[in-house]
Symmetry: C3
Subunit: 410 residues, 3 copies
């Protein structure tokens, strides 16, 4: 019964051994710098300090007496104790729990050392680093980098820059796994139809078996565009495969390329429609996924904590007010939060944790992943000296897809 | 009350600092290659894949629609997700849970990618490695190595190659500790009489206090032969020591060198007797211990998982059929499994985990360990070009034993 | 709302990057050698061996039939199994649980190998290392080093060398954290008033807000002397801060510099007073803190287990006999043990674990820490060739304090 180790035709498992084709990407294991990152719900940051790690930097967040949030390096200059263990002894300051070194929240300056008296000679001579802080979409954001920060407003998805009133629901969760693998997973068409076939979110909603996609570039976003959709497939010598089940419904109408379909929506939200998005799934730097559905937009921010650890910030935005907003919150908290931001998204977390790439061997749908990596290589679009390269992607073609040739195809 | 650090006679704790005298052995921390290893009970391998690590290699096992077991490298070529997390979407294949890459179990070839449709250009172009698989003694075995595998049949203990019907009981358990230390512990006469004196298995059975042994080589096995047996000893200036207790029985008859004695057996099994084994304890490559008792043979396979981790496969074989077989199973499951493969064997596991060698300072009974290491140095007896060395051991003498001279004696 | 990373005045967080100014101190991560260390309560060491690690050395302790405690290297010469897993098969010996190698507790010599019989050729040829052992203050001490040990008596605090009868209460606990950080924390005036403000021990006892201290050297001890005490302070632009609360009492009388005050004592112990200590807090090598209170002296021994792990030995000594001794034990066990050696001391453990120094930026009260490091640099005062340096500290001045200048000030 014994067999040789290699398959009959002795095919080699060639592929890509590392990410050296994308040097900026390969170097970004602990995150891309000079971006804003959402780190806490606004409601979670109060006058008691809290700590967070972003791109490997330890940060303390605290609100002052005027409600303004501030961020300091989370390390007392004296002996390295985290300031997030401290308390606010005087308004607008934070005091280290060990020797009561007291820092001004706005400037990071050491303004008092309680245990050394009012004439403490060290006061006013040293300061901890501060981080730019801002708030939007119900979240507190910090800027990680060493350049002058661009306004957070510019980095928000365009439809959230001057939006009508909207409601927000979401989940913030620290997860094991590389932020780059989370971003690739989020924008990937390939896995959704198979991995998520068992999610509760899809119990009554059929998904296709396979698609043909291409990627388009519009501004700072890349969009995944569906060219073909196949509900069922016959694999020669193996059998038929389909996600269709008698109790699952297919989308009732075709929303075009613009809106993702969860199968049940009868109407489209006018504000979302008005955005005229080229595709329902899009991705931008520094790792922001946008999925436009008929009634809401879902965003995922993959915030690098440190190498191998990612803060998943999943946010659902519905452009509603008044009673509709209350209904949205009831639906979100009553089910969507658990089904979509919980069970469904946990399947992605499970796979990203199990992923062990590179090495990797890419296939046709991985064109999404290749264009994302190219986008990272282009550099930070918010830099003053950024110029979009002349050969930047406008639209990928089928022949660009990997896996066609004998090599990696990329 | 203060004392100097060294003993009165300033004796040095000289000994062996490492295993460089046995280079092949020293290099084999993660196992010996080009052997068959038992990894699962046959009943545990079904059409749902299972994973195992052997000699540091990750392997997936799955049975096809004909009941034939197959082994593949447990890593999807695409993005490294373990195939043992997958399912069988089509008979005779395994499908990765992430993007539904589907591999043929026999050849390892990629035969379909469900999420890329029937015309997926990558199909048929790549393959994962396969491992030779076979079954015997109620276990599934895989061959780890890069040479053409010898038949599993040849590697089985001779009495199991063409045996009468027999019954099998056993325990498979992953344990911390080096597989080499498990093998040395298993074949070691020295510890058994002392360490296991407190085991439940020995509550009513006396063991000797000390023995004189030598080692004989017959074919690919080395045997431990008892020359002297002492039930009690008087240690000058210290006192008398004995395992004898009023409620413990000594063996009623002398079975010669051939069969180990558990104290209670009145008859010997004719098939076991007919093997005419030179000693009741024997060891062979790649780490197979055989202890012949009057009524059954006990085997231990020390399967290297990876450095510092070992799969203990303990198997008890009784050459019985019909009612006697049923009685054996009842006895085994009712007590032996827990007493012998549980409590008794756990004492070995406890000591192997506590062992911190090399460095080491060997003593007279360690002749068993020295001959085992020499056997490993000889190389793989199933290699086509294997020739037993002219100076291979036939029988050790007392003067070969370590600990006699001032150095290591080895 | 975005801000620059640095404080308004762009002050740098300069300071000390490492401890290279104190090379002996920097090298002592796993402890100082050639000292006695307390490791167990005397009552905990009996005829069943126990293990302990000190300065990275694994040690086994066991009492013989005469009640004398012995210490051996905790590693059987044969295969490295810890002897502390063994038992006493013959009086005055310890036997390894694996192969019954039996060592003399006094000399470390291998005197019998039970599993190799009375004529075992290795006996008398090898020995494990022994460690000097002694007992004092209710504790078992071992000497770690390679020089001839000085008598333990000489290393005890002077008032315990020929003391009147006394009672002892205490706590021995292994903690995460560097032994040096524990010593610095223990002698540090700075943190006590702030960190411990919330301890149960201080619920009814006010502490000052800040002090001015200097350090004096007397013999092998350095003393922290209070020059100023401030119960309250007004921090310009921030507000007033004080530990005073209506329900907390201040010390009723001034005991001078000599005795620490817990707020409630009305009388001073005559034996403690007779010591005429220059200050109530003092520190000596190899990490012994002494805090003299009106009614008892509290000692802390910071015993290095290994890098980053410390055995905290906290001992309270009261010079009482008869009924007063019984009352002391009742009070100690009924409350002090939990309040002082438990909750209060756990706050120190919490901060030492959170400390991440160097790098560090010292301030005025850290003069205590600087003088302690200098003391370590001077070398072992129990060495035969030790000479106190001519420029050894006699008394520090305020201008020596760090944090005054723009740099580190040390």
């Amino acid at each position: 019964m014994a067999r040789r180790r290699r398959g009959g035709a002795a095919k080699k498992a060639t592929g890509r051994a590392d990410w050296s084709s994308w040097p900026a990407y390969e170097a970004a294991a602990s995150g891309l710098r000079n971006y804003w990152y959402p780190v806490y719900w606004s409601a979670e940051v109060g006058r008691k300090p809290v700590g967070v790690t972003v791109c490997g930097e330890k940060i303390m967040l605290q609100r002052d007496q005027h409600g303004v949030a501030h961020a300091l390096h989370d390390r007392c200059l004296h002996r390295g104790v985290p300031l997030s263990m401290g308390v606010e002894e005087f308004p607008g300051t934070v005091t280290c729990p060990y020797h009561a070194w007291t820092y001004d929240l706005s400037t990071g300056e050491l303004v008092a050392v309680i245990t050394d008296g009012p004439d403490s000679p060290i006061c006013g001579k040293v300061a901890v680093e501060t981080y730019p802080v801002d708030e939007a979409v119900g979240l507190v954001w910090v800027f990680i980098g060493d350049r002058e920060p661009h306004p957070l407003h510019e980095q928000l998805p365009e439809e959230l820059q001057n939006p009508p009133p909207y409601a927000v629901g979401g989940r913030v969760e620290d997860r094991d796994g590389d932020w780059r693998l989370f971003a690739e997973n989020g924008f990937d068409e390939g896995h959704a139809k198979y991995l998520h076939r068992t999610s509760y979110w899809r119990i009554f909603k059929t998904m296709p078996t396979w698609n043909i996609v291409h990627i388009e570039r519009h501004g700072r976003w890349i969009y995944r565009i569906e060219d073909e959709r196949h509900w069922e497939a016959e694999f020669p010598g193996l059998g038929t495969w389909s996600n269709a089940r008698p109790w699952k419904i297919k989308p009732r109408q075709h929303q075009g390329k613009m809106l993702g379909n969860t199968g049940g929506a009868k109407r489209n939200d006018p504000y979302i429609l008005s955005q005229d998005l080229p595709g329902f799934a899009s991705l931008s730097l520094p790792g922001v996924l946008r999925i436009a559905y008929p009634q809401f937009i879902h965003y995922e921010f993959y915030v690098p904590i440190e190498k191998g650890r990612t803060k998943y910030v999943g946010v659902m935005v519905q452009f509603k007010t008044g009673l509709a907003k209350a209904v949205f919150y009831a639906k979100y908290l009553g089910g969507i939060r658990w089904l979509f931001h919980g069970n469904f998204s946990a399947q992605d977390g499970w796979m990203v944790e199990a992923t062990d790439a590179p090495p990797e061997r890419l296939y046709r749908p991985d064109i999404s992943l290749l264009e994302w990596r190219r986008l990272v290589e282009e550099g930070n679009p918010f830099d003053d000296d950024y110029v979009m390269p002349e050969d930047a992607l406008t639209s990928s073609k089928a022949s660009d897809a990997p896996g066609s040739a004998d090599g990696d195809g990329a």
